[in-house]
Symmetry: C3
Subunit: 143 residues, 3 copies
């Protein structure tokens, strides 16, 4: 038997409810890991699109509200944005929030388990101003 490193790539999506809607992807990513047959490696969860973001947070409503409150102060939804003036668009706040947080999270797994904290969840944060069908990718590189 040759044991080597392999890549698995799976595509998913969530239906979001608009700006600030946060989805806990931890169980899904953990299931992708446990079903992959891979023991250890890295897992990357990455959102497709420039107006949503990935990070980790304790996924309880208070902390999520606090994060959204901070993002609203940093990049108010009703603020003035050059992106609006150029494109007649309304999601300037979405673009800067997403750029600040980043599009992907990369975390290790070992013995088929994600190495994250008990109260640390992998989350997709919708930053756009309306509901979106939001595609994302979970990719493992491991052995």
């Amino acid at each position: 038997m040759i044991i080597g490193v392999m890549v698995t790539t799976t595509r998913h999506h969530v239906q979001t409810a608009g700006q600030g809607d946060l989805h806990d992807l931890t169980d899904l990513v953990a299931r992708v890991v446990s079903e992959s047959g891979l023991s250890s490696g890295i897992a990357t969860a990455s959102v497709i699109g420039s107006t949503a973001a990935m990070t980790t947070i304790e996924c309880e409503p208070g902390a999520v509200a606090d994060l959204n409150h901070l993002l609203e102060r940093l990049a108010p939804r009703e603020g003035r944005y050059a992106h609006h003036e150029r494109w007649g668009d309304d999601n300037g706040s979405s673009h800067v929030r997403a750029a600040l947080l980043g599009p992907s999270v990369t975390l290790p797994f070992e013995q088929r388990q994600l190495l994250i904290g008990t109260w640390q969840q992998i989350v997709l944060l919708e930053c756009d101003t309306g509901p979106r069908r939001r595609p994302f990718v979970v990719q493992l590189v491991g052995e």
Copy 2:
């Protein structure tokens, strides 16, 4: 034929025009992927140096200006920084902007294509106060 996972590492640089200058690296990273012979895996674009950053954004002048406007509010170029007092330097704003955004972006590819959105670009943001010859690395781990 044994098909296995391989690593490719390529080095590049851009000449930047100073703080806020943003370079779209998407075509370059996509070319590295397509020329690598690898079908699927992860691509990491990483900047060398502590006063520049990588993220993704819709690379149009309005959204870029909005991001820079936010960063100027968060860490004003002409603000007071302990880094200045210690080193007689002028780039305290650069260090905190870069630390906030982070030095690298990791994204999956499959069938020789980056899995990112149509209006989602991989960008290098110069945070330092003057022009720089800014080296960066594109590394693929894939099969």
Copy 3:
């Protein structure tokens, strides 16, 4: 001899002194790389827990103080947080700071050396309000 890609996963911890305490992990990660027997690949440093973060910064006291000053303005320790009201907790600022910075840093190495700048360090930033025994993982995927 078959040379292939391998995964190495090592676990570590630091004892932190509370919010704003920053630990330079660069030498440790570099040693993990040099002792791994791997020549090139990616290194992921990832913190376990939702109230600490990883990034890169020039690890000198001035720049570190500037980063903490910014985070205190963004998410004041003594601010009002929904997380406090729900849980009687005092670390709402910790959760949003950590979510903003992110839990991991992924960087390339080649010829057994991390490809980072001379004044660019991999750091773990304690965001929680008290001292913590903070576990983290260094994982390499390389050949």
